[in-house]
């Protein structure tokens, strides 16, 4: 005869199976939806932090290594997603504790209350780890950022390292940082992983107490032996999620450390702050410095009291020894740095009140070492005016040195420039940068002339390009070439942040002052007369 309990057992087995399948289904949906939400949140966070990063002024990038900034934008935002995963896990653990609590209450409310009385111990232990957990996780992130910064710098400067045979030196530095990362990571692991065993000890003590007190209650008849046994079986299901919750807060600190670093970068206050956002139409190009004071630090006063007026479409050459303040003036015009006193007026308007993006639309800059982005020559020329047509790009390129430089490129305008323009020569990069500015057609042109020499033919092309660009706009040139200086409408001679002489080349040479000294030091060897004189001397010596 069939045992009547068999159908019940079958029903039980079916119920457990269905519950298992259902749990799988619910978990799948939870994981799928959760992954999409977390992905979208990390995406938005990265957008916010990158947006904030590129909005910072140049002084921010001078003071902070780019590798550390990159680490926050990439690694820390990714680790932020761990915060979310932990939070989701916490929620499920809390639910489990709630469900287990109901079950335990249904078995025996007295023992359940006793269990609750011991639970806070685990929570207190976990909370006490909070501060140290935050500290060790912060240090782990900082060392990761430090390693990233050093790697980035080493790779960027690998040519210099190889030319000076310093590969071992940069490896030694990397090794030291890597080992530091190892030790910091070990400390982090020890702290975070010691939380669980310590809380487990507390739960073990609690279980022992329950066995003892529960046993006494059973002997006294307050609790039936069956219920006591059932309770002890069930309490294990209660403690596991409870341990997870208790240890959660300290592990959560790792994710909060990442969040803290990301939000700090987003919230970092820029030093260049506009007081208004006035629209900027076409500029005439008049620039006036009035008693401008500029300091980079409390001790480094670059411009103590600088005043200068540049007329529209005037070409002004700034000359002086290194550290005279020439580059700082160019950067102030572009609003890359904040000045601490005086005012700068553009077409009579306070530069601080202008809409910065609109204002910079009218500024064209070619730095000492022109920077090209990965892509083609055409894409780089189009960089300042994305809506330019192919014909516009070609026309700009042709106006620079007659366009002859394009014939030297393997694919003309479609030539891939490589990372930072590595596939082009210095001269070709300069020509591409000049074409980029010409296409943009700015009212104000700022040139920090390259000190590196190029071949005479390229030099001629560059000069022609400069003349084309400077013909119809205000130009501020930090000059290193004699030809540039000679063609300037006015030469401003600077020393220690002050104007000591100004005039044309001939008038300043006639004065015989600082400019004449600079000429003999820097420029004379570039002059045709000097070259011809040197050639005569050489010929006489040979004879």
């Amino acid at each position: 005869m069939r045992d009547p309990a068999v159908p019940h057992i079958l029903l039980l087995a079916t119920g457990v199976l269905l519950l298992g399948v259902a749990a799988w289904g619910f978990n799948f949906v939870h994981q799928y939806v959760g992954a999409r939400v977390i992905g979208n949140v990390v995406l938005k966070l990265r957008e916010d932090v990158f947006d904030a990063t590129i909005a910072h002024d140049l002084s921010f990038y001078d003071e902070h290594p780019s590798g550390k900034i990159v680490s926050r934008v990439t690694s820390d935002t990714q680790d932020f997603s761990d915060v979310v995963s932990l939070t989701v896990n916490l929620f499920s653990q809390i639910l489990l504790v709630a469900i287990m609590s109901l079950w335990l209450f249904s078995i025996d409310w007295r023992l359940t209350l006793l269990l609750y009385g011991m639970s806070p111990v685990a929570v207190i232990i976990a909370l006490s780890f909070r501060r140290i957990a935050r500290r060790v996780t912060q240090n782990a992130r900082r060392v990761t950022a430090k390693i990233n910064a050093q790697i980035q710098e080493s790779v960027s400067g690998i040519m210099i390292a190889k030319s000076f045979r310093q590969e071992q030196a940069i490896y030694t530095t990397f090794d030291a940082n890597n080992r530091q990362g190892f030790h910091v990571g070990i400390r982090r692991g020890i702290v975070l992983n010691s939380i669980f065993p310590i809380i487990s000890i507390a739960s073990g003590v609690s279980m022992g107490a329950l066995v003892y007190l529960g046993g006494l209650a059973t002997l006294d008849g307050h609790v039936s032996p069956g219920n006591w046994y059932l309770f002890m079986q069930a309490v294990g299901f209660f403690w596991w999620p409870m341990l997870n919750i208790a240890s959660f807060w300290s592990q959560f600190q790792d994710g909060l450390s990442a969040s803290e670093r990301v939000f700090a970068l987003i919230d970092a206050e820029p030093k260049v702050v506009q007081t208004a956002s006035e629209p900027v139409e076409r500029l005439h190009g008049e620039i006036a410095f009035r008693h401008v004071r500029l300091t980079y630090t409390d001790k480094e006063i670059v411009l103590p009291d600088f005043s200068l007026t540049i007329r529209p479409k005037e070409t002004v050459a700034l000359v002086g020894h290194t550290g005279a303040g020439k580059s700082s003036i160019a950067r102030l015009i572009a609003r890359f740095y904040e000045f601490q006193g005086g005012e700068i007026l553009v077409d009579g308007r306070d530069i601080r009140r202008l809409d910065l993006r609109a204002y910079r639309q009218h500024i064209g800059i070619v730095p000492q070492e022109p920077f090209l982005f990965s892509g083609t020559v055409a894409e780089n020329i189009r960089y300042g005016k994305p809506d330019a047509t192919d014909d516009d790009v070609r026309e700009a390129a042709m106006h620079i040195g007659g366009g002859d430089w394009l014939a030297d490129l393997p694919d003309g305008l479609d030539t891939d420039v490589g990372e930072r323009g590595a596939n082009l020569s210095m001269g070709q990069r300069q020509l591409a940068a000049l074409a980029r500015v010409l296409l943009k057609d700015p009212a104000i042109f700022i040139l920090d002339e390259a000190t590196a020499s190029v071949d005479p033919f390229t030099e001629t092309q560059i000069q022609e390009g400069l003349e084309t660009i400077m013909a119809d706009r205000t130009a501020i040139v930090i000059a290193h070439r004699l030809s540039t200086v000679k063609h300037a409408d006015r030469i401003i001679v600077m020393r220690e942040g002050e104007i000591i002489e100004e005039g044309t080349h001939d008038s300043l040479m006639a004065q015989g002052g600082h400019y004449a000294e600079l000429y003999n030091t820097y420029f004379r060897h570039q002059s045709l007369a000097y070259i011809e004189n040197a050639r005569d001397l050489l010929e006489r010596a040979v004879q």
């Binding site: 119920g15 519950l19 749990a23 949906v29 938005k44 966070l45 639910l95 030790h183 299901f237």
Partner: protein
């Protein structure tokens, strides 16, 4: 031990946030996805119920009166 923390100073723009402020800000990023979050939460709850249901059922079945 000093070497371990060499060069790990904070940046000048770093600042300390309270856990509450951080959580408030993090929650803000999830606000546009409230419905999906609630759906995920519901799935977690149902998963927890289904997961704990098995031991509860087995435990209850194990305490049925024995066959006479």
């Amino acid at each position: 031990m000093g070497f371990i923390l060499d060069g790990l100073e904070t940046e000048d723009y770093d600042r300390s946030y309270s856990d509450r402020d951080l959580l408030k800000r993090i929650v803000g990023y999830f606000r546009p996805y409230t419905r999906q979050v609630l759906l995920a939460a519901a799935m977690i709850a149902l998963n927890s119920l289904a997961g704990t249901g098995g031991p509860v059922i087995i435990s209850r079945a194990g305490h049925r009166p024995a066959r006479a």
